[in-house]
Symmetry: C3
Subunit: 152 residues, 3 copies
Amino acid sequence: MSIADRLAELGHTLPKPAAPVAAYLPAVEQGGLLFLSGQLPFRDGQLVTGRCGEDADEAKARDAAERCGLMILAQVEAALGSLDRVARIVRLGVFVSSAGDFTAQPQVANGASELMQAVFGDAGRHARSAVGVPVLPLNALVEVDAIVAIRD
Amino acid sequence: MSIADRLAELGHTLPKPAAPVAAYLPAVEQGGLLFLSGQLPFRDGQLVTGRCGEDADEAKARDAAERCGLMILAQVEAALGSLDRVARIVRLGVFVSSAGDFTAQPQVANGASELMQAVFGDAGRHARSAVGVPVLPLNALVEVDAIVAIRD
Amino acid sequence: MSIADRLAELGHTLPKPAAPVAAYLPAVEQGGLLFLSGQLPFRDGQLVTGRCGEDADEAKARDAAERCGLMILAQVEAALGSLDRVARIVRLGVFVSSAGDFTAQPQVANGASELMQAVFGDAGRHARSAVGVPVLPLNALVEVDAIVAIRD
C-alpha cells in the first residue's frame, strides 16, 4: 500500500504545504537526510493558536501537534514528490507553547509521534525532544521540526 | 581502557535506561549518526525537578545536567551494545528550566559537557546549544538531547 | 567572487570568533556536515542583551540575529580555513528571548536567514526553526545554531 493510500485509510487529508513565514525553505535535502523547517498547526486553513495551561488544554494541543505532523508530511511530499520515498522518520523536535505549570509536553507531542507511527509503521518510530516554550511564531500552540531519511 | 572502565574510574554508575515517556524511541541510528531523544535527569530513580532561579540553584541544575548526560550514555549503551562504539559526541542540545532572570545556562550545561570530555577525552568534545525554557516535561529541571557518531 | 569578497561587498566585517562560554567546541565536523554551537550576538565586542517585547523591539532583535549569523560565519571560517568550503547552509535554529506576547520570531530570525542568502545565494537557503524562549545565556537577545554542508 502506498503511503498516500495509508493516509487516506487513516482518514487524513494533507494540508496545502504552507509557504515559509519568512526567508527560508520548508525543506532541505543533504546527504540522504531531509531537514524540515519548524511547521505550525493549521486546521481548515486557520492557524491553531494559544498556550497550554492558559487558553488551551492538553487535548487541543495534542491535536495541534498532529496538525503540525500532517504539515510536515505535506512538506515532505512537496519536496520529494512522493511520501513513498521516506525511508525513516529519524527525529522530531516539538516545541509546546506552555504556561509555567503545564508539564504534559510528552502527551502533546504524541499527537505528532503517533501519526508518524500510524502512517509509516516501524519506519515512523523516531527520536524526539519535547520542551515547553513561552511563545511561538504568530502565537502558534505547537511547532514541530523533523529530520527524515530518504531512499534514492 | 574501555569506556565502561573509564566510567567506573570516574566513579559513575549508569542509570537503568529510562523508557520513553511516550510514543517514540530513545535512540535512532541513521547513516553513522545516532540521534538521542531528549533525556531527563534521574537520581536514585527519582526525577530531578524544579526551575533554576526559583526552587533550584545553579549547582543543583549542573548536577542534573550531568545526570541527563549519564542517561544519554545509558541509552547509547543500550542502543549500540557498548560505549566503545562511540566515535564522537557530535552535538548536545541542552534545555534548562529557567526563571526569567536566570542566565547561567552555559554553566548548567557544563554538567553534561564536562562528563562527555571526562569519559571520551577529545572524542567527547562537542558542539552545543544551551537555552532557557519556562517548563519541561514532568517539571524536569534539565533536558539534554544528543547526536553521536558511531564506528562500524 | 570569493565569499570573503562577497561579505566585504555587502559591507560586513566578521567578528573575532568568540571563545565558547564553557566546556564545548564552536564547531564539530562529522560526515561532511559542520555542526555549529549556538552563537550569541556581539556588536563592537559587546553582547547584545534583552528580551523582545520588554526592553528590546523587533528591529533590534533582527539586527542581533544578523550578528549571530556573522558569528556563525566567523566560526565556520575559523573551523574550515575559508568560507569558500561551504557547500550549503542546511539548517538554522533560532532562539529569541521573548516576552509572552511577542510573536514575531520569524521576522527576527530573518536577520540571520537573509544574511545567509545574501552571502551564499541559493546555497544559503536553509531549513529553519524559530521559537521564543524566556531567557538565554548571559541575557543574550538571540541565539542561533547551524548545520552547514562542506565540500572536500
